[in-house]
Symmetry: C2
Subunit: 487 residues, 2 copies
Amino acid sequence: MNDRKEKSGQRMRLVYDAVVEGIARREWKPGDKLPSVRIQSERLKVHRLTVLKAYRKLKDEGIIEVKYKSGYFVCRVPAAVPTPGAGIPDDRLHWDYGVHKSTVNRNRAMEFQSQSVEYQMSKALIDPKLLPNRYLSNHVRQVFDIYPKVLSTYSDVMGDLELREAMAGYFLQKHGIVAGADEMMVTTGAQQAIDLVSRSLVKPGDTVLIETPTYGPAIELFRQQNAKLIPIPISQEGYDLDRVEQIMNRHRPRLFYVNPTFHNPTGFTVPSPQRKRLVELAESYQCILVEDDINHDIYFECVPPPPLFFYDTEGYVVYIRSFSKYVAPGLRVAFLTARPPVMNCLVPMKALTDHGSPLLGQKIFQHYFFSDRLQAHIAKLRTALQLRKEKMEAQLAGTGWQWASPKGGLNLWIRLPEEITAESLLERCLNRSVAFLPGAICDPLGLLNNRIRLSYSFINEPQLEEGIKRLIAAADTLKGIDNTRGT
Amino acid sequence: MNDRKEKSGQRMRLVYDAVVEGIARREWKPGDKLPSVRIQSERLKVHRLTVLKAYRKLKDEGIIEVKYKSGYFVCRVPAAVPTPGAGIPDDRLHWDYGVHKSTVNRNRAMEFQSQSVEYQMSKALIDPKLLPNRYLSNHVRQVFDIYPKVLSTYSDVMGDLELREAMAGYFLQKHGIVAGADEMMVTTGAQQAIDLVSRSLVKPGDTVLIETPTYGPAIELFRQQNAKLIPIPISQEGYDLDRVEQIMNRHRPRLFYVNPTFHNPTGFTVPSPQRKRLVELAESYQCILVEDDINHDIYFECVPPPPLFFYDTEGYVVYIRSFSKYVAPGLRVAFLTARPPVMNCLVPMKALTDHGSPLLGQKIFQHYFFSDRLQAHIAKLRTALQLRKEKMEAQLAGTGWQWASPKGGLNLWIRLPEEITAESLLERCLNRSVAFLPGAICDPLGLLNNRIRLSYSFINEPQLEEGIKRLIAAADTLKGIDNTRGT
């Protein structure tokens, strides 16, 4: 009996997964009608009652909806995602294409991130006061002495050769990565690197694997290319690689966008053995791994394992290493490393995009980054961030909210009690001049609506204390009254 | 009889134009079969002999080819355009999508532009020695005194507010343009602005009007979006606006990319009355004018007319004003001005692209650009460039080559004698360490293969003298022996 029940549960899950993956791949878009219970049962070879159960569960979760006498439809407004269309100006002109519709939603994240709230915990950025400003300025003077014509000169499309050579040396020494300057490109932040990869390597209809949760703008960039997205859950242990292999085998994805080191938003780090096996899978199934590595040096206990790129022998990893956040955000310097077959696809796109990042920032970065002083500074920065993290965690300890304490990075990824949704909490927080990132923005399905990302990196300790106090107070007002959406 | 002959000529032209426009719109791609003479004659309601004549002319011009017993086909290799596929690495992986195929060709332009030839006349860039480097460096120091945290701070997505406000003031005072800081975005060069416009406003299948000749990378950007391109010839008098109106009426283009002031590559400036009428047409036919203005301050005789944006009352002009070339190439600062309905489409794309240009460059630009010293410098720069231009023209005077002497900008646009193609000349020039831009790169159809663009801005006078001497010598070797292609 128990066995039968379990099997029935498995079958129900099969239907459930088929729909969720179909929505992720955009086989069914918001508002689309799903196959009827009869057709779905024939297609998936399960009992109609099983389909019905799965559809009910999907409905209860706010993923699909029933229309009387019409059937089942994908919800237009997934649970915690802001209303589509908000932000599009009412205008007689049809400006409404170009940027993917869903961008407009994500764009709300941008909006409230730029809102000047007092207790800003939605930005995974580093407090400018933690960066050595005075020292940086002095360094800049030296740059002008060494390169008097730096402001009058264009960079190469791939970036300044001297800088790329220096970084190649750093990667070799630090990670054992052997890559030449011609396998390295300077980009305007990791953001531009992801954009270049997406535009150069993904064509419409390609399947792209993406972590859930993940960095919201990456979801948007792959959607812009009309890729079919399949979400891959990331946990403290990393990925379920058997499942990843099944998916690679079945869907032959073009690429898998990963952030395996102090992952944004969770802070998880994928362990070494998994890194090795993931790269082997990528090579077997010819799936490019796009490794976004933005927090590599922000560790609190021990140095993280080497990048995926280190394990790659066949050229299937594109390694994006940004120093923008913790070295000098005003310069926006990041590096994309890839083997020639991939790099040769990216360079013409970089040329079309901006013809090369500005030279001045590159030259300043070079002379600053490779100084002992900067390396010493990063050590101090780690300590300062760890203190802020611990402060935030101590204050949240009494709430009963759940999170895995991160061993690096800039954020706590918090599961709220069931009765509180991120959206309703955010609304009350913004009224209190407090901001955080709602989890739905990090999810390709727009779910995860009782998760929030709290960044401890942008505001100082007294501000953190007050911000968290207000956050908890806001949550208290929702207790017990918010088990339905939209209250 | 003469009248009949003229009418027959007109009908032939009709067929000819239909094919050329079809190719430009990518209705027929390289290698595609054209409609048979019979079908074409029925479709266009002309005599078969007329179609035959037009097809012969197209064949003679190397645009189409005849295959025995198969019919007429669009040439795979248009006259002077380099062989497609050159530069794509031979690899077992199918990296061959992403960047549009034709980009690989244009990319050859990039390649030989980056080749270190001694006499570089293919780059429309300004000799770094003409820019006030020492003065710039001193200014930078002041910036750090005023904004000690500039390196630790992100810019807004739209760009630094202070800078945008200052530029809004400048546009008002200089051109009578009334635009707020919220209608202005800072981009990494004009290149990025065109890219943003293309990605945000053009969807696949949209019709885009583009000047011929024009800026090669713009052709590529619109092709990336799978736009149908219709070339609009530009002459010393501007455009044939009656024809533009016909095309707007028939094809309802999404936008028209124009460079009306010291046009690249020709140097032409569209006169005021045409500007006014073009804007009216754009408003009538809801066609956005994307105005690329990169040489506005590089005039030799008189100040050019105000930008198209000045004449616009309905929000149909996107104004891209770059100072990158002549103020500080190492900073790559350009401005995109647009009214809110368009701007609201561009901002989310800018966020996805790079989340805002680096702040440091913007702050340096602001404090430098609005200084009296810089404005005085630009006046000197104009004189220096004019001298170089006159030097180049004097030396070319004896060749019999044709060009319209430009009243501003950085280039001569030269028509070679019929027997010399740009490609064959370029080959011989590169052997002599001389580079220029072959005209085909500036043409959406890849024709104009006896035109070349010579930039007088990048190398100094003695170098120009030697470079032109070598160019003429190379051309002499081709005289009389190069009336077929590929010798």
